[in-house]
C-alpha cells in the first residue's frame, strides 16, 4: 500500500510541477492531464470509485480537452521565445511557500498525527452507486437541481462569450465578398486606434 501511495504521490506532484513550469503550453496541458490521472488513482485507492471514474471522465475527458482547444485558439505565433514568468513572480513564489508552510505546520502539529485511529485506513465497505444515487435524490436533491441550472447557465454563457460579434459573423456565398470588401478599412482603423493607445501608455 505504501509503495502504491508513494508512486502515485510522486507521479502527481512531478506532473503538477511540470504543468506549471514548462515552456511549451501543450506540454503543460498534457502534464496536467497526467496529474488528473494521478488524482483519480488516489481516489480509487481511498475507496471512492465513483468519484475516481467521474474525475477521469470530467477532467481528463473534458476539461483537459477544453484547455488544449483554448491553447490552440489563442496562439499568436510561436516565433520569438519570451520570458514565461510574469513581472511579480517573486512575490508569487513567496506566497505559495508561505501557504504551504502554514498548512504543513497546522497539519503536523494538530491532533491528527497523534490520533491512533487515523494511522491506518479503516476497512469500511465501499459505497455502492445505489447509495450515492439514493443520497443525491433525497438529501442532496437541492444542490443537484442547482448544479443543473449552473451547468446550463455556464454552457450558454460560455457559448455567448466566445461567439464572434454579430457584425463580423461568418457569411458564405457571393454576399460575403461584397461585405468583406467593406470590413477591412474598419478593422484597420480599429487596430491603428489600439496601436495609438499602446504608444500613449508606454
Amino acid at each position: 500500500m505504501q509503495i502504491a501511495f508513494a508512486i502515485i504521490a510522486a507521479l502527481t506532484l512531478v506532473s503538477a510541477i511540470a504543468a506549471m513550469s514548462l515552456r511549451n503550453l501543450v506540454h503543460c496541458a498534457l502534464c496536467l492531464a497526467l496529474a488528473f490521472a494521478g488524482l483519480a488513482a488516489f481516489y480509487l485507492q481511498l475507496g471512492a470509485a465513483f468519484a475516481g471514474w467521474a474525475q477521469v471522465l470530467v477532467y481528463i475527458g473534458a476539461v483537459a480537452i477544453l484547455i488544449v482547444f483554448a491553447i490552440l485558439l489563442t496562439r499568436s505565433g510561436e516565433g520569438t521565445p519570451q520570458p514565461i514568468l510574469s513581472r511579480s513572480w517573486g512575490v508569487g513564489i513567496a506566497i505559495a511557500v508561505l501557504v504551504f508552510g502554514v498548512l504543513a505546520k497546522a497539519i503536523m502539529s494538530s491532533s491528527l498525527t497523534s490520533n491512533s485511529l487515523l494511522q491506518k485506513m479503516p476497512s469500511k465497505p465501499e459505497p455502492t452507486v445505489h447509495q450515492i444515487g439514493d443520497q443525491l435524490m433525497t438529501r442532496y436533491v437541492l444542490p443537484l437541481e442547482i448544479i443543473g441550472l449552473l451547468l446550463t447557465a455556464a454552457a450558454i454563457g460560455a457559448v455567448i462569450i466566445a461567439m464572434k460579434d454579430a457584425g463580423k459573423g461568418q457569411l458564405t456565398g457571393p454576399r460575403a465578398k461584397a461585405t468583406q470588401m467593406e470590413i477591412p478599412p474598419q478593422s484597420n482603423n480599429a487596430s491603428s486606434a489600439s496601436h495609438e493607445l499602446e504608444e500613449v501608455r508606454s
Partner: protein
C-alpha cells in the same frame, strides 16, 4: 504441485467452455496464497489479449472481402484460399515498413500518442460480461468506467495531430475531437436510459435484468421495446461516429486532409492506431450487445443450453458485420452536416427517448387485456412523431433548387 496445476488448468478450460460458475477457483487453489491475485488477473487478461487482436485480424479480412463484394469486386483473393492469409501479409508489411518521424515533430508526444490511444481502449474490455460467469471485473460502476476510459482516448488524437507539426494533421485532429465529443452525448444519454430502467451501472446486473421470455418465445431484451429500439439506433449511430467509421470517417478519409491526424504515422505506429480503432469498435459493439441485445442471453428458451459466450460473440460479429455493411453503403457526411446531426437531431431524440422509457416503465402497471398494444402505440408514437417532424424541419431549410453551373470557356 505441477500435477495439481495442470489439473486445475484443464478444469478451468472445461468450466469456461461449459458455462459453469467460478472457473478459476481450482487453478488458484493449487497456488500459494500470495500469488493468487496476480495470477487471477493474468488469467483474466490473457484471453482478452489473445481473442480480440485475433478478431481484429479476421475483421480486416471480412471488411475487405465484404466491401469488395458490396462494390461488385472480389476483394483480396491471392494470399491463400479466398485471401485468408491477407491479414498476416498486412501485418508483416506494417512491421517491416520504415518508421518515419518528421524532423520538426515533437518526438516524445509523437511516440506516446498510439500508446495513449491503445491502453484505455484495451481497458474498456475489462468490464464486459462475455458469458454467464465470464466477466473479468464486476465493477459496481462498470458503465461509468467504460465511458471514462472511452473519453480518455480523445486526448491521444490531439497528441497525434499536434505532435506532427503539420497543418493538415492539426486541422484533422481538431475536427476528429469535435466529432467525438459531439457524439459522446447521445451515446451516454442512450446508455443512461438503460441504466435508468435496469437500476444499476453494473453491466452484469444489466444483463441479468434482461432475463425471461414473454409467451415463452420473445426475450426481454431491451431492443424489443420501443424506447430500446430507438436507443439502440442512437447508440449504433453514435458509436459509428465515436470509432471514426464511415459515414463519419471524415478524420481519416483519404480525400479529406490526407489522413487527418494519422498523416505523419507509418509502419508499426500506424498499425497500432489501426488496431486501436478496431478494438474501440469491438468495445462499442460489445457494449451495444450488453445493453440492448441481452448480452450473453439466448434468444429462445430451448437454446439456453448453448453456452453464453457463443451468443455474445455471435451478436458482436453480427454488429461488426452491420458496421461493415453501413460503411459500404452510405456516403460520407461533411463536417457541418455531421455536427448538426449530433446536436440538433440526435441529442433531442436521446432526451425524448429518456422520457419515453420512463413512460413505458410506469405504464407497465396497466393490466387490462390489450395494454401491451396501447403501450406500444403510445411510446412508438411519441418517438416516431418527433423523429419525422424534426427530420423534416432540419432538412427543410436547405431548399432544393436547380443547380447553377459555371463552365470555364
Amino acid at each position: 504441485m505441477i500435477g495439481e496445476l495442470f489439473n486445475g488448468l484443464m478444469l478451468m478450460i472445461w468450466k469456461v467452455l461449459t458455462d459453469q460458475p467460478d472457473p478459476k477457483a481450482d487453478f488458484l487453489a493449487a497456488l500459494p496464497e500470495r500469488a493468487r491475485p496476480l495470477v487471477a488477473a493474468i488469467l483474466s487478461i490473457t484471453p482478452i489479449l489473445m481473442i480480440f487482436p485475433g478478431l481484429f485480424a479476421a475483421t480486416t479480412w471480412l471488411e475487405r472481402k465484404g466491401l469488395g463484394r458490396i462494390q461488385n469486386r472480389l476483394g483480396p483473393n491471392r494470399v491463400g484460399p479466398f485471401g485468408w492469409f491477407q491479414p498476416i501479409a498486412d501485418g508483416l508489411k506494417m512491421l517491416t515498413k520504415e518508421d518515419i518521424v518528421p524532423r520538426n515533430a515533437d518526438k516524445v508526444v509523437h511516440f506516446l500518442a498510439p500508446v495513449v490511444l491503445l491502453v484505455p481502449t484495451l481497458l474498456a474490455f475489462a468490464v464486459l460480461p462475455y458469458g454467464r460467469n465470464l466477466v473479468p471485473i464486476n465493477l459496481d460502476a462498470g458503465m461509468l468506467f467504460f465511458f471514462a476510459v472511452g473519453a480518455s482516448t480523445e486526448l491521444s488524437i490531439f497528441m497525434a495531430g499536434w505532435a506532427s507539426r503539420n497543418k493538415y494533421s492539426l486541422l484533422g485532429a481538431m475536427r476528429a475531437i469535435a466529432q467525438m465529443i459531439s457524439y459522446e452525448i447521445p451515446l451516454i444519454l442512450s446508455s443512461v436510459t438503460v441504466i435508468m430502467i435496469a437500476g444499476s451501472l453494473s453491466l452484469v446486473a444489466i444483463v441479468q435484468h434482461q432475463a425471461g421470455y414473454t409467451f415463452g418465445l420473445v426475450p426481454h431484451w431491451y431492443v424489443l421495446t420501443p424506447w430500446g429500439f430507438a436507443g439502440f439506433v442512437i447508440f449504433i449511430i453514435a458509436s459509428l461516429a465515436e470509432s471514426n467509421r464511415s459515414p463519419f470517417d471524415l478524420p481519416e478519409a483519404e480525400s479529406e486532409l490526407i489522413a487527418g491526424h494519422l498523416t505523419e504515422y507509418s509502419g508499426f505506429k500506424y498499425a497500432l492506431f489501426f488496431l486501436a480503432e478496431y478494438l474501440g469498435m469491438f468495445a462499442m459493439c460489445g457494449l451495444a450487445t450488453t445493453l440492448f441485445l441481452g448480452g450473453w442471453r439466448a434468444p429462445l428458451p430451448f437454446l439456453e443450453i448453448v453456452p453464453g459466450y457463443i451468443w455474445f460473440f455471435g451478436k458482436l460479429i453480427l454488429l461488426v458485420f452491420l458496421f461493415i455493411w453501413i460503411r459500404g453503403t452510405v456516403p460520407r457526411l461533411r463536417v457541418d452536416q455531421l455536427l448538426n446531426l449530433a446536436w440538433k437531431f440526435m441529442l433531442p431524440m436521446a432526451l425524448l427517448n429518456l422520457i419515453v422509457a420512463a413512460i413505458w416503465h410506469y405504464t407497465g402497471a396497466w393490466d387490462f387485456p390489450s395494454a401491451l398494444l396501447w403501450r406500444w402505440l403510445l411510446c412508438a408514437g411519441m418517438i416516431a412523431g418527433p423523429y419525422y417532424w424534426l427530420g423534416r424541419g432540419l432538412t427543410g431549410r436547405a431548399k432544393l433548387v436547380k443547380r447553377n453551373y459555371r463552365f470555364a470557356d
